[in-house]
């Protein structure tokens, strides 16, 4: 058994030894090779090869549409049933431009892509705030609308298709021409269907750009959005803008698929682009591995092959022979069955499942083999912490004054003052429902305060969005660690860097030299951070399989990656065993030494009293005690709210609603 995987291990190992540039180079070469092999049967141009060429072409079209959809539905978690509609728009716009507009292909293609992107952006502006079913429904309705328009719009030939002899004196679109050389579609025997070359070249380009995009910080930001909008914005991502951009790119790629279709068949019938088609694209994504980088491409190839080849006809025949000649499933039904089956058996899709499997089998070897050249000298803290230690004492990093927040009738945070200096830890304690987390959320921007001011390094951040605040130098962890469980620890840390929120999509896609250097730097810094929190050996372990304590450490590492001035830790010790708590304490004191200011929301009194310089105790949203740990913990009123002695402070309680 294991010997079989040794091979895989070696390959994986080698693969990750290769330098990024060469890795991407190899990827391109591999793609080109595959494409060439795919074309060979048709080089002769014999009529018998036409079905094959059409198959290849359709696969290419589905591949680009599917990888595009993956950005939104796989990474950002917005399930769209509208990709088929974008495909149709692309096909018709391109067809119209090249027949009616008589534009050369080199011009028609980019214009079409832009049109599709614009449509996508417009849709996004209206819908990106929606989540879950609502978003899906809207895309579904849009798909139905587009289909209706295509069936009825006379200018586009309506149901007679575009073009049709009746209106346009021809049933075929003009052949694509680039620089005077014209490309033949795979329709008539006797001639090599040269348009396939054009299609596959564009496919390779699209795939390379898509891959760069999804492996970059930009791609990470989409994954973050998929995890939760809140997490993403705390990582400095402007969620709305990101969703809009993503939908634009998705639509453009969908449109590219449509362009391929027009190039291949030179005639468009609205019936080809119904909702069923949209769903097959989604199926391709899920079957291949929604959220994996290359999975959707694989899924697309499989789905098209299933639909076009006679395999499913074979299945149908088998049913009719052995099950029932009347009640049986043919292609569409079997597709539906596969869809459900895939959800049950391959929840992560073909590629996702395989890679999980491989990762499990080869993790140990990987961590030894593929750890990149780690910085031998321990990276000096200040190189990734923004605070400059020597001038630290002089100023206040975070100053909360009179912060107040109501929920309905409930006063969650009541005129709270709080101050954090550089290189200091401010503990926040208090019984359940005292408003500790609410306070943390006010500071990090998750809630807007009703009143009061919050100054971060002198700048008022009260009421700003979390991503704005994050960029100003505030990072936080969450009560339950929010990690990308299917990504490695290293990837998780990388997601923490400011690039996630700031790298532009086109830079990510084109990936200039500088970007390679930046990636290397990120890798270096991420590794250093992992070492700092003691996770170096787990660098290539999937975050999902980390022990709880380590997961928390990882989240702290990710928070540090954004080079914060202030770090908010929300119950970091919860669920940790005593030794883990000790380690946590050590880490916090180290960070303090680096000049980092921290708010430590915690129940674990031992931890508080060991590390906190100042402690504030909240009850019913109000500050009831403030001072050094020992002062606060021996304060009568504090004891009262914890132990419930008779003379606890008058707490406003007859408010409606519950705080559960």
């Amino acid at each position: 058994m294991n010997t079989r995987f040794l091979g895989a291990t070696k390959i994986l190992a080698r693969w990750s030894d290769v330098s990024p540039q060469r890795r991407d180079g190899l990827f391109v070469i591999a793609l080109a090779l595959v494409c060439f092999l795919a074309l060979t049967p048709g080089l002769s141009g014999e009529g018998t090869s036409i079905p094959h060429m059409q198959l290849i072409g359709l696969m290419a079209a589905m591949v680009v549409a599917a990888v595009g959809l993956n950005l939104v539905s796989g990474f950002a978690g917005l399930i769209s049933l509208g990709q088929g509609a974008m495909y149709a728009v692309g096909a018709y716009v391109f067809g119209y431009l090249s027949l009616k507009g008589e534009l050369p292909t080199l011009l028609a293609v980019p214009i079409t892509l832009i049109v599709c992107a614009v449509v996508g952006v417009v849709v996004a502006l209206g819908t990106a705030r929606l989540r879950g079913p609502q978003f899906t429904m809207i895309t579904l309705v849009l798909a139905v609308l587009v289909h209706k328009v295509l069936v009825e719009w006379p200018e586009l030939g309506a149901a007679s298709g575009y073009p049709n002899t009746l209106q346009h004196q021809t049933g075929l679109l003009p052949e694509a021409t680039v620089l005077g050389f014209s490309f033949v579609p795979p329709l008539f025997g006797g001639e090599f269907a040269s348009v396939l070359v054009l299609v596959l070249v564009l496919t390779v380009v699209a795939l390379v750009l898509y891959r760069n995009l999804s492996l970059s910080s930009w791609g990470r930001s989409l994954r973050a959005v998929g995890e939760s909008d809140m997490l993403a914005s705390h990582l400095g991502v402007h969620v709305f803008q990101r969703k809009v951009a993503a939908l634009g790119i998705t639509s453009a790629l969908g449109g590219l698929g449509g362009i391929f279709y027009a190039l291949l068949f030179a005639h468009l019938q609205p019936e080809s682009f119904d909702v069923f088609f949209s769903i097959t694209i989604l199926l391709a994504v899920i079957l291949g591995g929604s959220g994996t980088v290359i999975g959707p491409a694989v899924g697309a190839v499989i789905v098209v092959w299933l639909e076009r080849s006679e395999v499913l006809d074979g299945v149908t025949e088998l049913q009719r022979q052995y099950l029932s000649d009347q009640w049986y499933l043919s292609t569409p039904g079997i597709i539906g069955l596969i869809l459900i089956a895939a959800l049950f058996i391959l929840p992560r899709g073909v590629v996702g499942t395989i890679s999980d499997f491989a990762a499990k089998r080869t993790r140990r070897n990987l961590t030894q083999l593929t750890a990149p050249p780690l910085p031998t000298e321990p990276l000096s803290p200040s190189s990734f912490l923004a605070v400059n230690v020597d001038e630290a004492e002089t100023r206040t990093l975070l100053e909360v004054a009179g912060a107040t927040k109501h929920f309905g009738g409930l006063l969650a945070v009541n005129r709270v003052d709080l101050r954090v200096g550089p290189g200091s830890i401010h503990g926040v304690i208090g019984p359940n429902g005292a408003g500790k987390s609410s306070l943390a959320n006010l500071v990090s921007g998750a809630y807007r305060p009703d009143s009061g001011s919050i100054l971060l390094d002198g700048v008022d951040i009260a009421g700003r969005r979390p991503d704005q605040i994050a960029r100003k130098g505030l990072a936080r962890t969450f009560q339950t660690p929010q990690l990308f469980s299917s990504a490695t620890a290293l990837e998780n840390v990388k997601a923490g860097f400011a690039d996630t929120g700031q790298l532009s999509w086109w830079r990510a896609a084109l990936k200039p030299r500088a970007q390679y250097r930046r990636e290397v730097e990120l890798e270096r810094m991420a590794t250093a951070l992992l070492r700092r929190v003691g996770l170096l050996d787990e660098a290539y372990v999937l975050a999902g399989s980390l022990a709880y304590g380590k997961a928390r450490a990882l989240e702290i590492a990710r928070a540090l990656a954004s080079q914060p001035k202030v770090l908010i830790l929300d119950e970091p010790a919860a669920g940790l065993n005593s030794t883990e708590v000790m380690e946590l304490g050590r880490l916090l004191t180290d960070l303090r030494a680096d000049g980092l200011g921290m708010i430590l929301v915690e129940h674990h009194m031992d931890l508080i009293s060991t590390v906190a310089d100042e402690v504030t105790c909240l009850a019913q949203g109000t500050v009831i005690a403030h001072g050094t740990a020992s002062d606060v913990l021996s304060d009568e009123s504090v004891m009262a709210v914890y132990l419930g002695a008779a003379d606890s402070p008058p707490a406003e309680s007859l408010t409606e609603g519950s705080q559960g």
Partner: protein, 239 residues
């Protein structure tokens, strides 16, 4: 006849919050589980009533192991919990909320209705709110309705998770009076899971102190009341 929790471990996701907990409860008795929050009190409660699955160990209700049953099944079997924060159905009326409780009463309905009557007589305020939406009640009233709802389920054993949460001391006393009444009326055993140690210890006969997911102290309530260790459990040992 007793509810036995036999070295139970449980937690969320990959986190183990409580480990090898052993507690026992006899009918008609009140046993307090105290400890600062984050110590794992709610986790214990949710594990016993079935909202969380036991990682290991067993829960034995009157001789029958129930750790495999779902929360709903356990409720019908007689393990009833009043969750943290009451969790009334805000859009349902007080009456409907209490009727909801009675669905779990299964065969034991008769007795429970009488008990409910007694509670309502003792705390007429609930009757006054009878047909109002539970969402419009104050915290204290909600807690009382929640307790009544639990009694309507004819519990053999009752788990109360932080009944004093968010209540003023005065109201807390009220609620605890109600709990006492329930203990006397229905011969149910009560796990009183509380942060307010002094109040809880005043009510309970027996108590356990939960610290970092472990039971560190266990004994008669009045002994624990005076013990310094209890204070340490809350505010740390370092003074």
């Amino acid at each position: 006849m007793s509810l036995i929790v036999e070295d139970v471990s449980s937690g969320y996701g990959r986190a183990t919050v409580i480990e090898s907990i052993n507690v026992e409860l006899a009918p008609g008795r009140i046993s307090a589980v105290i400890g600062s929050n984050g110590a794992g009190k709610s986790t214990l409660a949710r594990t016993v009533c079935g909202l969380l699955t036991c990682r290991s160990g067993s829960i034995i209700l009157d001789g029958k192991p129930v750790q495999k049953l779902s929360a709903a099944q356990r409720a019908r079997a007689g393990i009833v919990m009043v969750p943290e924060g009451r969790r009334l159905f805000a859009k349902l009326t007080v009456a409907e909320n209490i009727r909801m409780g009675s669905y779990a009463a299964a065969g034991r309905g008769k007795a429970s209705t009488q008990h409910v009557e007694t509670l309502l007589d003792a705390f007429p305020i609930i009757r006054d709110r009878w047909s109002q939406r539970a969402g419009h009640l104050s915290g204290g009233e909600q807690q009382m309705v929640a307790l009544t709802r639990a009694v309507a389920s004819a519990p053999k054993y009752l788990l109360l998770d932080e009944p004093s949460l968010g209540l003023s001391p005065k109201l807390t006393q009220e609620v605890f009076r109600l709990i006492q009444l329930i203990a006397d009326e229905t011969n149910a055993g009560i796990f009183l899971i509380e942060q307010m140690a002094d109040d809880a210890l005043g009510l309970a006969q027996h108590a356990n102190v939960l610290e970092q997911g472990l039971i560190t102290i266990s004994g008669p309530a009045d002994e624990l009341r005076t013990s310094p260790d209890v204070r340490a459990a809350y505010l740390g040992k370092i003074h």
